[in-house]
Point group: C2
Chain length 420, copies 2
């Protein structure tokens, strides 16, 4: 019966234990040989007589021996009188030493050797932040009456935004990879009222920046029977709080993450006010990265908040399904959420009346019939609704203050990278 | 403050309530008009004076009125003295009447009008089975120390099985949609030991059958430090039990699902024994659908089980990474799980020694260097491991005994269908 490395700490000294894992480190001293074993729970120290052959680092082994108290060992218990059995062939030397406390690898090395370098405990912990965040995301929404959905990633038309989609050869016909579940999550509000989906989205924009990926995980939410985008923002606040709460302090420490406090109410500034705050001209149509940073600094100084929502983005810069701000249609009922001065979430209220869709589509110079499949949900009765999408990789990158979103993505895909 | 329809039952009679939802049905009698309102929780009855104009079915409305006891109303409470406010324009007539107790639509109608027809309560409940199953799947694996992962859906080579992949135009280069996360989940066993992923998989096989989709949701699991495929099957048993336990009896009833009992131990027959049991020739390389049905009937009769695992499938019919059966390499350490006589899950033990991979790849007439990226995990130490994949849509289809897997898929994709 296999024990986990960290369970050694609570094992009765003198008992026989079997551990299985990777040779994390071997150290051959003159009077004794140490084997540090790594499994999913952590590390354990195994003591062998000097001269015992120990397989190379990263080889998988089974160790059977006696649990023995030793204040110097991790958890205060080590394994002595051990027999080491190989579970595979001796491992090749890793491209970077994984037993060192920190992983010292350039970004290209990290990415080229991802299957091996993710094994480093501090690197692995970064993905565990993502996994914990997903749990918190779903648990929060399940508690609020949301239904998980699964929408198609292959779509027949590139209508949402024609310029940045990947084309697929679909049995000899052109089809496209979905750049978001936007149209489908809206249609499903008509069925379930409140829906969420965690899934891949695909953007063929040839951005070669530290914050863009061609495939990433989008945490999508959409809900019906709202008053306006402020109801959407209130759900987003709950979701973020749930994501943070799902990360145990010990994990945050292992991953080097600085967890934010999510305020009871996220500060909100109107886009026009935001421009004034950062000293930008009043006719700027968007916030530049330096404006986002300045707003982040402002929110921290004024409100002690790592988060700030900017509402009312100009309609001209938002997708056609965006709901305008009542009373002043230059602005929209939409928002961006900045986390530590970087855009993390885009959300807002959508149009829900079929006549508003027809008008918005015609205003783009398009024929509403091209959107017939999408629009049937609206013709047959939709509630006022809205939603948001969080980029998982961006979220984790901000938590650990990674310079590049690729550092926290298991197997990133971009303009240049399709492997590993 | 909005109340849900089903919360009416516990509302103090005489209080003012606000409900929001869809006009499920309107019935204009000579002395009174009934409006049945539908929201995500269920139905509520609203009573209006005869002659009150009521918007057409499926229009979204807000109803404010007085909660009034009436033994004939759903939940024993209805809304009287009501004001009905439209939340959108009057809805177009649905292609099929959604207020009828059962949804009477041909498959093409169901699929063409999916955004509207999923609103039917019994149809919606079918997807709720899927959502509940996903919760049970994740909760079971989280409890067993698994980590959720996210692997790329765009891959650079079509190596896993070249014939059935979709090609993507990746910034002018060819790339492919992943037909499974197989290679990646194995590599991640090297990092996390135990991993799972729920995600889309893509199969370009031009099957036009009732059980194949070109895009479906795969529930993938992989774990390290196993003895053999029986350890994998034991985890699968826990997962299935967790999925069934997550479905509330009231949901099963609404969806018309017949929930199975997952036996403490799933009966296992060897492939060779299975052929004999169904009277097939001993040299058959695979089980035909009628053989699967016969084995399902046998498991039910002999073991009272809706499930039966067939282990030892011929190596010749399994992918190259399959681990052979020790002592007789004609057979494999892999299995199919049949649920009510249909294949639901494929799983097994994989190779883990780098030299075994080199040999298996050469035996296909290929050069191992073509798999270099995949094989680096093995060169650097992998444990004995295995896993399985459950098709979500097939699972739900079996629960409700749907004739066609498309009936339980939100927006199916196949050879002929890319919309809605």
């Amino acid at each position: 019966m296999r024990s986990l490395c960290t369970s050694l700490a609570t094992t009765e000294p003198g008992s026989t234990v079997t551990l299985e894992g990777w040779v994390h480190r071997r150290r051959e001293l003159s009077r004794v040989t140490f084997l540090v074993l790594r499994d999913r729970s952590g590390l354990a120290q195994v003591v062998l007589p000097a001269g015992t052959p120990v397989p190379p680092e990263e080889t998988t082994v089974r160790v059977t021996g006696t649990a023995t108290a030793n204040a110097q060992a991790p958890g205060g218990v080590e394994v002595t009188e051990a027999v080491v059995e190989l579970l595979t062939e001796p491992a090749a030397t890793p491209p970077v030493e994984l037993w060192r406390p920190s992983l010292d690898a350039s970004l290209p090395t990290l990415l080229d050797h991802a299957p091996v370098l993710w094994r480093h405990p501090s690197q692995r912990a970064k993905w565990e932040l993502a996994a914990a965040s997903l749990k918190g995301f779903r648990a929060t929404l399940d508690g609020l009456g949301f239904t998980e959905v699964a929408t198609p990633k292959i779509v027949g038309t590139a209508t949402e935004s024609g310029s940045s989609v990947f084309e697929v050869d679909w049995f000899g016909r052109p089809a496209y990879l979905a750049q978001s579940p936007q149209f489908y999550k809206q249609q499903l509000v008509g069925v379930f009222e409140r829906v969420y989906e965690v899934g891949p989205v695909f953007r063929a924009e040839p951005h070669d920046t530290v914050r863009h990926l061609a495939e990433y995980r989008s945490l999508d939410v959409e809900l019906g029977f709202i008053e306006d985008h402020r109801d959407v923002l209130a759900v987003l606040r709950e979701v973020l709080a749930g994501m943070v709460a799902s990360i145990e302090p010990s994990l945050a420490e292992r991953a080097g993450a600085r967890l934010p406090v999510v305020p009871e109410e996220i500060p909100v500034v109107h886009f026009a006010e935001a421009l004034a705050l950062v000293g930008a001209p009043a006719d700027e149509p968007d916030l530049a990265p330096e404006h986002e940073r300045a707003l982040g600094a402002w929110a921290l100084a004024e409100h002690g908040s790592d988060f700030v929502a900017v509402e009312g983005y100009p309609m001209a810069k938002r997708p056609f399904y965006t709901h305008p701000q009542p009373g002043d249609e230059r602005w929209s009922n939409s928002f961006d959420l900045l986390f530590r001065g970087l855009e993390l979430v885009t959300g807002g209220q959508r149009l829900h009346r079929p006549s508003d869709y027809a008008q918005a589509i015609r205003a783009r110079g398009e024929d509403p019939s091209a959107y017939d499949s999408y629009l049937q949900a609206f013709r047959h009765g939709m509630p006022p609704h809205g939603g948001f999408a969080i980029g998982l990789e961006r979220w984790v990158a901000r938590l650990v203050e990674a310079a590049n979103v690729r550092e926290v993505t298991l197997f990133p895909r971009d303009l240049h990278r399709l492997t590993p």
